[in-house]
């Protein structure tokens, strides 16, 4: 599904954020990405989303070198990936319903079909009853769940999450991770960046450890 071949990423020509990353993630796998702050977790995810291009090596997703995608193809590539952001990136002037419907609107999904899928996604994260609320009327954990609903409403085959449990209490964090496990169970490939070691070691999935932009450990699920 995802292949990194000797990938390096420099910012501004000198600073090496990622160096010589070589690993692959199989279809249907669930992988945690961990490491200290500044280790390069977000940079790695941004490479997969093609928000950045590697300065060295190749990133292949579903067998294709995504650096070679033409700019006009990038939006169509991104539509196949669900992304959960640490700061959830919700649109504050739209209701929860319309936030979750956004990816479908972009794809031009027919409104009735979209409504069905939005409700299903909101139901999955337990927020169906808040569909008319605005994002600021929700708690941090609820906002994060809206972000997850938006990421999965398209039924992506790849789900990326950058610190999805950033500022949440342990119970909420565990709930959210359980949600990702549910999506993984139905075949979605999931990559989650997190530095909450206590939580992710408990979950027993494969773990990639970064230190200063290098892959220092690749521990298969125990």
């Amino acid at each position: 599904m995802i292949v990194f071949e000797h990938v390096g990423k420099r910012y501004g020509g000198r600073f090496e954020a990622l160096a010589n990353l070589d690993f692959r993630v199989r279809r249907g796998e669930m992988v945690f990405l961990t490491g200290h702050s500044g280790a390069g977790k977000s940079s790695l995810l941004r490479l997969i989303m093609r928000l950045e291009r590697p300065t060295r090596g190749r990133v292949l997703v579903a067998g294709h070198d995504i650096a070679r995608l033409h700019a006009s193809q990038v939006p169509f590539y991104r539509r196949q990936i669900g992304v959960v952001f640490q700061d959830h990136q919700l649109l504050l002037d739209r209701s929860i319903y319309h936030n979750v419907a956004l990816p479908l609107e972009i794809r031009g999904v027919e409104p009735r079909e979209a409504a069905r899928r939005v409700r299903a996604a909101l139901d999955k994260v337990g927020l169906l009853h808040r569909e008319k609320a605005l994002p600021i009327e929700l708690s941090g954990g609820e906002q994060q769940r809206v972000g997850i609903a938006r990421a999965v409403v398209n039924k992506p085959s790849l789900l990326l999450a950058d610190e999805p449990t950033g500022n949440l209490d342990p119970q909420l964090s565990a709930d959210i991770m359980a949600l990702f496990e549910d999506f993984n169970r139905i075949g979605t490939t999931v990559v989650i960046a997190s530095h909450d070691l206590a939580l992710i070691t408990r979950l027993r999935h494969r773990m990639l450890r970064l230190r200063d932009g290098r892959l220092v450990a690749d521990e298969e699920a125990a």
Partner: protein, 327 residues
């Protein structure tokens, strides 16, 4: 990254979303256009004063070139009428007798390039002259008629150059004293019209650029205020066309609003000037109507203003989208 896509993206990535049924994609596209058209109108109405000011600025930029264009249009109508009545006056020599004048008249009538002739004998000329000037008494006392007989010639081709050539060849005929052609003022009018139309074009271009700037600036601010939204939708796979669409509609609405206001201003201006113009024309014994935009002119104005608004928005958004990169 479904199995199909795995076999053949990046093209697969597109074909998957373009789907097997193009018609459903077209419907989705039409739906988004409709939605954005209404949404951008709603956004404009949410800030009625600001929108109105933008439209007013556009209207003012449009009124001047439009008015000039209208004035030129009426000048063209006038010019055509004048051309129709462009005539030459051939003055015959004093010693030409009346019978001889008739023959010369016929000869001129047979001349190439002459459409019609009308003979004015010396006596008729005098009568016309007296009537026109109301000087019957003063001239009536003259013993001898000082006026020669003349032939008024309507040329086939009223173009100034052709008329001038005709005049030269008529001048060579026996018994002709002088050919007078009053083309100077016609040509002067032409030059003025030419000057005016260049001026209108220059003003049109200049003020058109003004409209682009007004709309562009307004749209730039709108893009800036929705920057976060743009970044988010680009993160989740919106194309540039999708992002641009609501702003293009805003630009088109501004343009249309500005065009309607300009149309209203032109109408008001017409009302305002109509009375004095009518009085002025009457004092020349003429009836002259201020030119009206008419249906075609109104449509042109509105279409142009809408397109200008759309174009201004397009330029502004495109310039901005290149800068916006999702974080």
């Amino acid at each position: 990254m479904s199995r199909d896509a795995a076999r053949q993206p990046p093209r697969g990535a597109r074909s998957q979303s373009q789907g097997p049924r193009a018609s459903s994609r077209m419907r989705a596209w039409g739906r988004h256009h409709r939605a954005m058209c209404l949404d951008s109108a709603r956004r404009l109405l949410r800030h009625p004063l600001g929108s109105l000011l933008t439209m007013l600025a556009i209207a003012i930029a449009l009124v001047l070139p439009a008015a000039l264009w209208l004035a030129l249009d009426s000048a063209r109508v006038l010019d055509a009428e004048l051309e129709e009545s462009a005539t030459l006056t051939v003055y015959l020599a004093h010693q030409v007798e009346e019978a001889q004048a008739g023959r010369i008249n016929e000869a001129i009538g047979a001349h190439e390039g002459v459409a019609r002739t009308r003979l004015i004998t010396a006596a008729e000329g005098m009568a016309e002259f007296q009537q026109a000037l109301g000087l019957a008494d003063a001239l009536g006392r003259l013993d001898d008629n000082p006026l020669p007989a003349s032939v008024v010639v309507s040329p086939v081709d009223p173009e100034p150059e052709a008329v001038r050539q005709l005049a030269e060849s008529l001048d060579d005929l026996a018994g002709v004293d002088e050919v007078r052609l009053d083309l100077a003022w016609l040509e002067r009018l032409r030059h003025l019209a030419e000057l005016g139309s260049r001026l209108a074009l220059a003003l049109g271009v200049l003020f058109g650029l003004g409209v682009l700037l007004v709309v562009g600036n307004t749209i730039r601010l709108a893009v800036e205020s929705r920057r976060q939204e743009i970044e988010v939708v680009m993160l989740i796979g919106a194309t540039h066309a999708f992002v641009r669409r609501p702003f293009l509609y805003s630009g088109a609405w501004y343009g249309l609003g500005g065009g309607l206001l300009a149309w209203g201003l032109l109408g008001l201006g017409n009302e305002w000037l109509a009375a004095p113009v009518r009085a002025l024309a009457a004092s020349y014994g003429a009836t002259f109507q201020l030119p009206q935009l008419g249906a075609a002119g109104s449509a042109t104005l509105l279409i142009c203003s809408t397109l200008l608004g759309w174009l201004g928005a397009w330029i502004a958004v495109s310039r901005h989208l290149a800068e916006i990169r999702p974080r």
